[in-house]
Subunit: 207 residues, 4 copies
DNA sequence: GATGAATGAGTGTTCATTCAT
DNA sequence: CATGAATGAACACTCATTCAT
């Protein structure tokens, strides 16, 4: 049991180094040697835990998938729509912020690696969209939101969150990057809520 | 002058091959040899027109920047807000569709190449956001839209368009990918217009 | 004494695994790990019994040398020449057959490892040739065979036996591979006996 | 045409270096780097002419096969049996001598590489045996040799030639290695001719 | 003694770039 | 200008060997 723990630690240690190097250099430019150095092991050691370099990347995708699934909020019926929406947006912004490295590491390969693309979109992005649809559809049923086409609106919302996060990360000089996350959440909630509410009069105000 | 034309053609021919190969394989996996083959020239010839492989990529970024700038719609004061918004969204969706290859080619390197990131975000994404802000602020001034924080809302809108486009391209099985672009535009216009309109009563309806 | 026996068993167990893996993959492609696995021990254990991978090979050569020496028939004066020759050929064919693995294992390295070559040729092939010379020279002295140059004829005979054995092993589709060993012996005895007999009239016939 | 010649030369140059290095170190120990150095080219250049290291080996096998086929003597009806046999043996000894390097290069891999084994035995050894059978069967028909089982006798003869050649090459201290080739031929002809002649009285004598 | 995780030197192969023709 | 053969640095990966447990 002690050895199993040790092996798991080693694996984690290597994966963490891989995240760092992939995020910094991109998958292709990253060298196994550098990952090994950053993990404090010899290059050969990596191959005791992963079949090859690509398996490192796939393992990172797995990690992201697991985290994305684990962190999806449970629907919370007690809150009013606006507060719930705020909760969700805040949560997703945090998810991106906390998994920045992982996302950057994958971002370099998603576009040309079919398997990875399928994993990333199919098991990270689409589930987030689907869960978001479920949250909101419940509010539609309750009459708190107007009926709308979730397969269009939710990608639009998720994409919005993503681009805002990306700008904060990649373009620190943009005005968007400078804003406190809480202000972003507040403004977005107002925007999305107005866009979807069933009773136009019921204005929402963050506090 | 004939030779200059010829040279320009050769250059264009090479760039087109580069777009194709970069989009397919990603920048790193793409080989100069394959680009040359696809352009119908010898590998050495490429180096008569570009200093190195990376210059090809930067030239593609230039192309995208120029196209992004050229295709930005002129503000169109005669249309009502909804129709104008529809025009803009339709136009941006088309831009992504028509520059798919270019965008994919760049997408693989944006995340780790600082200069490229600066170009892409600074000269493609941010101008789109800025122009969008200008369009909408005009409507705000005219009282047709409520006042809002453009540096948050416009990235959200642009990000939405991007993710929808990306899903259509990368995840053909997602429900979003199946929809006619026109339906997407219609639903988005309603969503964004409701989110921003100044007189909640004034519903918009596509026709 | 019990431990010594155990150690000897372990050694033998490892050597048997080595024969199998070397014969299958060749010395260079064989990995210590696989030999260990086949022997049911850990890789490190092999190094308690052998200094390195090459020592395994040399130990196998030793084994072959010992077996080759042990199995050389004693000259048998009572038999007539033909029967004696048959006995010897049958015996050498059997030796090759029974030590197939060992021979294959060594065959991959003999050609480039000087020490091994010296051992194999000097202590396996040449002794067989020498013993064969002794057998036959005795018959020459007795007037049962004509006088001949043993340093040419015996290599020719031994080489014949070897190639026939090799073809049976490596080229199962060749007509030679299909024949019962006994027919081979019979035909070879006739061939060699005619080639060497002193009284051409005295035909030999196997029975 | 000039370039084709040049390319063919380069190819030959590389193959010759490969023969040398493979023969010296064996296929596995030989490094592409060393072959390149010996050929006077950069390592990468080798890959312009051969897909990989193994293709070098297969190309060598091809060369040997071609040479073996090209050098098979035409049957020569005018000569008496003994002289003809002498001609053939002398020729095969020369073939081995002249293709020593090639044979050594292949000898290291034949035992574990199925494709190579099939090529070597199927297209070098078996054809030699078959052609030898054809030569001798003609003499049988003419009544100059007794009838015999060629599928046994010819491998025995070819094997004899091979082992004698191998001993000369690998075991220079053996008495066999010291002999002039012509003496070997003479003794072997006598041995084989006596073994196969139809009229025992007709002794053959080389001169 | 036995283990097997860790090591790191060494290899085949790729590919951006050069330059003689 | 155009070519494409040649280059050689760089990289992923293997595996004999060691040594702490």
């Amino acid at each position: 049991m002690a050895e199993q723990q040790e092996a798991a630690d080693r694996r984690k240690q290597i994966l963490e180094a891989a995240v760092a190097v992939f995020a910094e250099r991109g998958y292709q430019r990253a060298t196994v040697k550098e990952i090994a150095a950053r993990a404090g092991v010899a290059p050969g050691t990596i191959y005791l835990y992963f079949r090859n370099k690509r398996e490192l990347l796939l393992a990172l995708a797995e990690t992201l998938i697991r985290r994305a699934a684990d962190t999806l909020l449970a629907p919370c019926a007690e809150l009013d729509v606006g507060s719930h929406l705020a909760l969700i947006l805040r949560d997703r912004l945090r998810f991106v912020r906390e998994n920045q490295g992982l996302l950057r590491a994958l971002a370099t390969e998603i576009w040309t690696d079919r398997e990875l693309a399928a994993q990333f979109f199919g098991e990270v992005i689409l589930p987030v969209i689907r869960t978001g649809s479920a949250y909101t559809q419940e509010r539609v049923v309750r009459g708190e939101l107007r009926s709308f086409r979730a397969e269009i609106i939710l990608p639009a919302v998720v994409g919005g969150i993503l681009l805002i996060s990306v700008l904060r990360l990649m373009s620190p000089n943009s005005p968007t990057a400078a804003l406190p996350e809480e202000e972003v959440v507040e403004e977005l909630v107002r925007f999305y809520l107005y866009g979807l509410r069933s009773h136009p009069e019921a204005q929402w105000d963050a506090r």
